[in-house]
């Protein structure tokens, strides 16, 4: 069973294990007795159906969220999410066989308001046959400078267990094998430290800034993907071999968002994110969004996102020979590419007649079209026609649909 990265994303959002600095900051937040206070998130419930279709992969599923204040200071939330994957992607076709799989994710969270500080904590668990991931997070958010500024510090910790599925040749059943990495069952450990700041600039503009430091350790590769190296005269001119990844990764990401209120009631958002890690990946993300209410009931949205990435140091589409270097990967997520995403959404706000405990509700539709242009990842399935290393560069087109209903109470 081929497993692509999309099937095993562990949503990271932090956890316990506090540094002395964090402990001190938390202590003083607890002691403060403010005259003013912040506001907890609204009570709501959302039911969403998502669908991704592109590159011969289809992933669909539900996402259900419920959030409710259980007292004046405490808000609880829970989310159930599924990815039902049907994959015959280019990677699957190259070195495995098409598969179907479901990934289930459950998460719970709590937000506690004490004066101007909000403490949030939560736990996320993701399960699929060959990947189990648990993440916990903790963050503190503080309003300051007359509530024009909000500072948030967060910590998250993730623990993953990675397995490998294969089809038993005799029984034809899928068997989940333990991967042995450095003599022990394969695991991965993730830690994230984040700092966020939101700042009201003027009556019409607000600025957001985020910085995140992430460290990953352990088995970080995809067990199903393979590298290829030139082997003239053999097969299609190349031979597949196992990937070898480093066992650590440290990443830095920083982003800025600016939201501006237009006088006729509309919002314009500009975002930029910078990413760099110890694997040599350098990425820039730029996004522009426009939100336009129309009439009493409609809110329309459109967005354009541009993403560009330089490949990881140990990535290559085609290595010159076997065991060319210590670390080798051909995962297209680590390749050099540009991507464009064009999105549009429509939201219809309405009141449910006769049901008084629902204060408002909305029906929403969102469509995004994703276009990825790889600069150094080739369609290896065409090696027979073009020769290994001369195949056309791979291009991916995908359509993403979201349909959801939200109610507030």
């Amino acid at each position: 069973m081929q497993l692509t990265r999309e099937a095993r994303c562990a949503h990271t959002r932090g956890a316990a294990g506090l540094s002395p600095f964090t402990r001190t900051l938390l202590t003083l937040c607890l002691i403060a007795a403010p005259a003013l206070a912040g506001v907890l998130p609204e009570d709501r419930a959302d039911v969403l159906w998502h669908s991704y279709n592109g590159g011969d992969i289809t992933i669909q599923g539900p996402s259900v969220l419920v959030r409710k204040k259980v007292s004046d200071n405490l808000s609880l939330s829970a989310n159930y999410y599924e990815d039902m994957i049907s994959s015959a992607s280019i990677d699957v076709k190259l070195s495995a066989s098409p598969y179907h799989e479901t990934r289930k994710q459950e998460s719970v969270g709590a937000d506690y308001l004490h004066g101007k500080s909000t403490y949030s904590a939560g736990f996320i668990t993701s399960k699929e046959p060959d990947y189990k991931a648990n993440t916990s997070y903790f963050s503190v958010s503080q309003d300051m400078f007359g509530d024009l500024t909000t500072l948030t510090l967060g910590y998250r910790r993730g623990w993953d267990r990675i397995y490998e599925d294969r089809k038993d040749s005799q029984t034809q059943q899928i068997v989940t094998d333990t991967i042995f990495y450095n003599g022990r069952p394969a695991t991965a450990d993730h830690r994230g430290y984040s700092l966020s700041l939101t700042q009201i600039l003027t009556r019409n503009a607000i600025l957001g800034f985020n910085y995140e430091l992430l460290t990953d350790q352990g088995y970080l590769a995809n067990p199903y993907r393979k590298i290829r190296y030139l082997s003239p005269g053999q097969g299609a001119g190349f031979t597949l071999a196992d990937q070898v990844y480093p066992n650590t990764r440290t990443s830095n990401a920083a982003s800025v968002q600016l939201k501006y209120y237009l006088p006729y009631r509309a919002a314009l958002t500009g975002q930029y994110r910078f990413f760099h890690d110890t694997w040599g990946i350098l990425a820039h993300t730029v996004e522009l969004d426009y939100t336009h209410p129309a009439g009493k009931h409609w809110i329309l949205e459109s967005s354009l996102r541009y993403y560009t990435q330089k490949h990881a140091d140990f990535y290559s589409d085609l290595f010159p020979r076997a065991d060319y270097q210590n670390f080798m990967a051909r995962d297209r997520e680590l390749a050099a590419f540009h991507s464009y995403t064009l999105g549009a959404g429509a939201s219809y706000q309405f009141m449910v007649p006769g049901v008084h405990w629902i204060s408002k509700s909305s029906a929403n539709l969102r469509v995004d079209h994703l276009l990825v242009d790889y600069s150094d990842f080739r369609n290896a399935l065409l090696a027979g026609t073009y020769g290994a290393g001369n195949e056309p560069l791979y291009r991916l087109n995908a359509n993403i649909f979201q349909v959801f209903v939200s109610i507030w109470f």
Binding site: T24, L28, I31, A32, P34, A35, L36, D72
Partner: protein
């Protein structure tokens, strides 16, 4: 060392929390009110006046309104009045909300934020209580369920003066 930091910081944060008392004569003003006529603070000299600065877009303000309505109904005949000063430049949203959640106390429109500035409104909602002689006696910023008890204590003692 860490304890010292925590202590300094905690003290510095705790200090402003104590702020909230008000003093001196209440600034005079006249604003147009719901129903068309103009209302001025001077009209209520001799009564205990509670001014609540609110906006329809502010969640805690909306939450507080029904409680203010019951306070007004209870104490109005004892020489107490409540003025709801709406701070929105465009009163349409406030009027729409009041249609759904009506109140019987006067609603004044501070469209140019003149009175908000006069009273140095530093939080939404903000409530001030003025005694029978026109002096500021209480300033309360924000609203959390339970705050109405503070208002009631203040009103009861000021009515007796």
């Amino acid at each position: 060392m860490k304890n010292r930091i925590a202590a300094i910081a905690a003290l510095a944060i705790a200090v402003p929390a104590l702020a909230g008392s008000a003093s001196g004569p209440a600034p005079q003003f006249t604003l147009s009110a719901r129903g068309g006529r103009d209302v001025s603070l001077a009209q209520y000299h001799g009564q205990v006046v509670m001014i609540n600065f609110w906006a329809s877009w502010c969640g805690p303000c909306r939450q507080e309104m029904p409680l203010l309505e019951s306070i007004y109904k209870k104490y109005n005949k004892l020489g107490f009045t409540l003025l709801g000063v709406n701070v929105e430049p465009d009163s349409q949203a406030a009027d729409d909300w009041l249609k759904a959640t009506p109140v019987s106390f006067p609603i004044l429109y501070d469209k140019e934020s003149k009175v908000s500035k006069l009273y140095d409104v530093a939080g939404m909602p903000s409530t001030v209580i003025i005694d029978r002689r026109g002096k500021l006696r209480m300033l309360h910023r924000g609203y959390k369920p339970g705050d109405e008890n503070e208002y009631l204590d203040s009103i009861r003692s000021l009515i007796r003066e």
